[in-house]
Symmetry: D2
Subunit: 410 residues, 4 copies
């Protein structure tokens, strides 16, 4: 495939450098200090007006004569994971969780490709300033992984300070074939709720369980019991997933601790299923505590991601544009996915449409192989640079130009 970047080899080279740098310097959610500084510096150098918003968010605006105001959002944070891609530019960075625990950090969700493609498109817009008119607003959003970033930018007065776009776009890299684009009209990404559960028992010596209420065994029974919510209480034709990705209890092998903690992440595509499962989780957690004669566990709600809904009409138009720019065979419609996003909060706050698409990052032979393709959030998730970065850049540029260009049709 060819993209507009084939005509800009020098820009492509600079984007590759930028990407390698970002990949080697990932920062955890809401701590994207150096990333934000770098974005400010690069966007400022291109001639954009930049300001900070929501701590480590960056808004970069270019007014280029009369015309529509169009938004583009790129998220910037990384994850607490030890990179295991074997890439020459793999991350060895470390960071600290909010509770102070030091952890490895990795761009395991590929937000570094989002920043790079956004800066790539921003550069092309500057280079082709004569062929369009209007205002473009780039929203570099922090803290997507924790559902905190869009909320922080809005709370910091984003739409009091920035021009109001009539539509906002966004994109995400994923383990599809590099060079391809996938778009879902309508409901596209799932509800996602996260809880932290503190299981309360009674501690004591490991040799005298009869004088304790063992919170580790209790938590294990809860985790095992929760499996039945999915297997028995969700209709097979509906979609839902409950993941318990963390559990922490105890410091010493012969001291039964007084408590155990685990997190629950639940996703689904249907408000009824969501309500049933939230109630079911509480029911099981409470009942299992009763079965152990333990105190009521404490449940802390960490976040709720809403359904991400792509405006159907604007999505149809975007698909046309992307097919024109990248080739018909490169752009597919696909069903909703169980991933979640806070992207929607940004257009929703203005009541304007949003459209969000996926661009592939994996070589064809990796996708075709019998081995499972490493997915986002895997320590092995490492998109190939090309044509991934060119595709992301070209897609962003094409969709923006379809609105801003002097012969734009929208």
């Amino acid at each position: 495939m060819t993209t507009i970047l084939d005509d800009h080899p020098e820009l492509r080279e600079r984007l590759h450098e930028l990407y390698r740098h970002l990949h080697q310097n990932p920062e955890l959610s809401m701590q994207e200090h150096e990333t934000a500084a770098l974005i400010e510096e690069r966007m400022g150098a291109l001639g954009y007006d930049v300001f900070r918003c929501g701590g480590t968010g960056v808004v970069a605006t270019l007014v280029n004569g009369d015309g529509p105001v169009i938004g583009f959002r790129a998220d910037t944070d990384a994850l607490p994971l030890q990179e295991d891609t074997g890439l020459e530019y793999a991350s060895t960075a470390r960071g600290a969780l909010p509770d102070g625990t030091e952890v490895p950090v990795m761009h395991a969700c590929g937000h570094d490709t989002h920043i790079t493609a956004a800066i790539g498109a921003a550069t092309l817009l500057v280079q082709n300033r004569d062929s369009w008119a209007g205002t473009v607003v780039f929203l570099f959003q922090p803290g997507e992984e924790t559902a905190a970033g869009a909320a922080a930018m809005l709370a910091d007065g984003l739409w009091d300070k920035a021009p109001h776009p009539e539509v906002i776009y966004g994109q995400h890299v994923w383990p599809g074939v590099t060079g391809s684009i996938d778009v879902t009209p309508g409901p596209a990404m799932s509800y996602s709720d996260a809880w932290k559960v503190t299981v309360k028992g009674r501690g004591g010596h490991g040799s005298q369980p009869e004088n304790t209420i063992d919170p580790v065994v209790l938590a294990a029974y809860m985790i095992v019991r929760i499996q039945s919510l999915i297997s028995r209480e969700v209709a097979p034709l509906k979609s839902a997933v409950i993941t318990i990705a963390t559990m922490h209890a105890g410091l010493k092998e012969n001291i039964i601790p007084p408590t155990a903690e685990f997190t629950v992440n639940m996703r689904n595509l249907d408000a009824d299923v969501r309500e049933h499962l939230l109630a079911g989780l509480r029911r099981i957690i409470t009942a299992e505590a009763m079965a152990s004669n333990a105190p009521e566990p404490q449940i802390e709600e960490l976040y709720t991601f809403p359904l991400l809904i792509n405006d159907e009409e604007e999505t149809a138009r975007v698909i046309e544009v992307l097919r024109g720019a990248l080739g018909d065979d490169k752009v597919s419609e696909k069903p909703a996915v169980m991933g979640s996003e806070d992207f929607g909060a940004l257009p929703d706050a203005l009541g304007v449409p949003g459209v969000y698409w996926f661009f592939g990052g994996m070589p064809q032979d990796v996708v075709d192989s019998d081995e499972p393709t490493p997915s986002n959030h895997s320590p092995f998730f490492g998109p190939v640079m090309e044509p991934t970065l060119s595709t992301g850049t070209a897609a962003a540029y094409a969709v923006l130009m379809s609105r801003l260009g002097k012969n734009a049709s929208a």
Copy 2:
């Protein structure tokens, strides 16, 4: 009750001060640096020859003319636990586990009473130097909680450097009534084995469990399955306990981690049961990994405590002596307990008898109340100072004098 310390009110006062200091300055296993320095200082000041052994172990010897060589062991380490006794002198200390994790530290096993009582008896021996003859060897042993300390002292050449006792005594505070002593002839404390199990899965995004092997759910199934080892594979008339006191997995609620870790501590009183359960643990851990299609988990053996066996003949004699010193009604025989000790390694290395007893630390009304009495390793375990410390001191002194005293009978 009255003890020899009623005649030494000033010594008692000094022991109380020492105890409060030790209680407020607990140190983790094999890191008892300040504790060891304090012991050296105090025992040296009393006239004992002191030397370090096994890192933070201290050996203190007093040669007082011709006579038998008798040993007395006190262990010195504390536990990673947040004290919750509400005592005015409660610990607020912190320390670091071998992996660097910072944790609160507490003398939740009461080894501070052991040090205090040993120094108390050592003081009385010096004060009554005329009434005995022989050599007394105090062994202040580090790292009892991890089964590392006795081994470390032996590995450091303990018996190459110190005189060889013909018998070694030791004692432990426990949640019996303060002022009372309990002794078990023969097998007295259990085998104890500890493992660290690393459950291996395959990490990935929390929304795509089908592309992962979830180690958290797998570990929960293992923990639940292990319950059946005790409930179905041990004869009801035999004694065994398996505690999984720690489990740690995952850093982020939507990233299924690649691994989970938990520890297993297993105790029993019977070599056959021990062999069956060790094999059963491996069997279940392996089979559950198979059930998840996961790699073979990694098992690291942390320690093995042997059965602690009190020499039957010497124990009978010790009971007599203690009844003489403290009153017949204060000293009871009791059955074996499921706690474990590395005390036995010290006399075993010389092939000489050892005797080990318990002294109570709780007020009568606490023991009698309907609430469970806080046990060793509980954040609420706080022995009352008196008559606990006087009893421990008097017991140690009486038993030592029964061997060393000029009219000793043994």
Copy 3:
């Protein structure tokens, strides 16, 4: 709504009588002796050529001049369930399972409505003999519930003996609103596999579990473990269900039995998911037996239902016909369901298209209420007679006439 039966009140009355009789005289799969005799008698009386096929199957053919050969299948068996509908004509019948166990029997899947509607349509065809030409073949199939009946008819030479239809239709009552029809183009009903699992342990006295291998606890662990296949190994966007509806073990509360038996029924819509889950079931069953140190369990494959696929083109035509006969608002397309059928085996054996639809049996207010609507196989499943039976009859007649009628369009 009105149907053709509004013009035939006497026929409707006779169909109601027939339905009540069938409902009160249900027979288990492949034991439909009286049902078959009754069908033979009724269809013979109408002028159809009848013969037995596959034991309790009945084929009834009417040749009415030159024209197409068209098939219609109705299944005839009932289920081992105690009816609890409270209907005045509720079943009190009993039967015997293949292993000899005596059980209550109930038409809990509504096959009595299928027989009644088929005989109703067959009667209308006879009464309107002048308005059509060709051959109609009614296939009264036994043993649908066990996937044995279509296979038995085919094995007994069905297509050697009966005329070959160019298309075969069928229908099923379900808990939709009475009077309505639902149709699914393409894949419409799921794969369904059933296994009987014999868990092997070692029996003994209930007080000595250590001398046994407890197959009841082992089976419980298997059942609990199998939940994770659905919750962790199927993509949330795919559909699958595993039900363990029977378990039997032990005769006496203090004798641990040597074995336990349970059945597994698994459904899904995707060959890959099916393969993964069949392998996963074997993996878990084997691994849990290992975890108990038990012998390899025995797995008996009871049946496999294939995907039921409605011919897309013919289904579109059928929808048109049904809308014409019953009203546009009465006929809906709907997505695939997780129920299964051996209907497809009959057209598949000839390589001709099949179409299969659902007709509702529940009053509007029952469907609308907050209570779950009793579903097929529930002891509370009792379709209301009208307009359920009129709709089934009218639908069958309309679709047959759309092929056979003198002004038929197909």
Copy 4:
């Protein structure tokens, strides 16, 4: 070893015949009709006064001049089990459980040896009528396995009709070495409680679990959860066992049934542990139903066996007598066992002492082998006839003669 039967080879031969007959004709609890008739006939023929009591119980009394009244109890019922001993005289009998289920029947608890030995001792007493004086009362008790038989005899006025013994003896065969006797002074056999639990869910089609409350999965979670009562809530130094030996649910693999049933049998040696576990069972059963959103399960208490306590003084005397009769090395004291008995109800109702002992039934090499020895209630439990039957007979005779004999010491 030699016993008194070495002098009575003809009696031994007749006892062997009787034993083979009883073994081949086992009858279930409270249905021992032919067994009772046979006992009446044999004891009557020996000259005993016989009467029926408690349905299938038989009381046989012989008054032989002035002297003490002494009782001996033998239980008579068999178990619902398919014998798998491979013995030439193995049982092929069948019977019916109270609910009508037909089952195989086997003397898997060896009560046939008890009847045989009692009749053997009764015969020796008649043959040696000159050497003793007094009254002997043989109590052939039905329904021991269900705790129903002693209660039935007492309810039928046993002690209104039979002479009152001043002591009652009993014995039980078990998998010790044939020829040996084991006796436990004081508490000897455990409390035993049995429950039938009916788990209530909501039935429905196996493809729609979301519309049901699955009682099979719920029962499995209960069974798995109950394991933690033993593993975590009983002190390792205490003895308790909970066995779930039966579970029954469902008739068809694709119909989720409305209920599931299982039985629980719980044994322990300590009133406190018993109270805690009974409450814990209710707690877990209730809480697991809550976790499934299911109705409260129904618990039916089937029986309670009390602790069996051997009178300590009389037991010491019996041990002396048995050592005299069989050899010192043949008679051992042993700790309590987890089996249970309603024997104690018979002396308890009169307030007189009872003593109950075990006699071995297995060859030395079977006991010594690495294979687990088949225990009571195993389909493989088949005592060797000799010296098992001679030992049982000689033990009963010796103990009775020690009280009744003209030079008896007691």
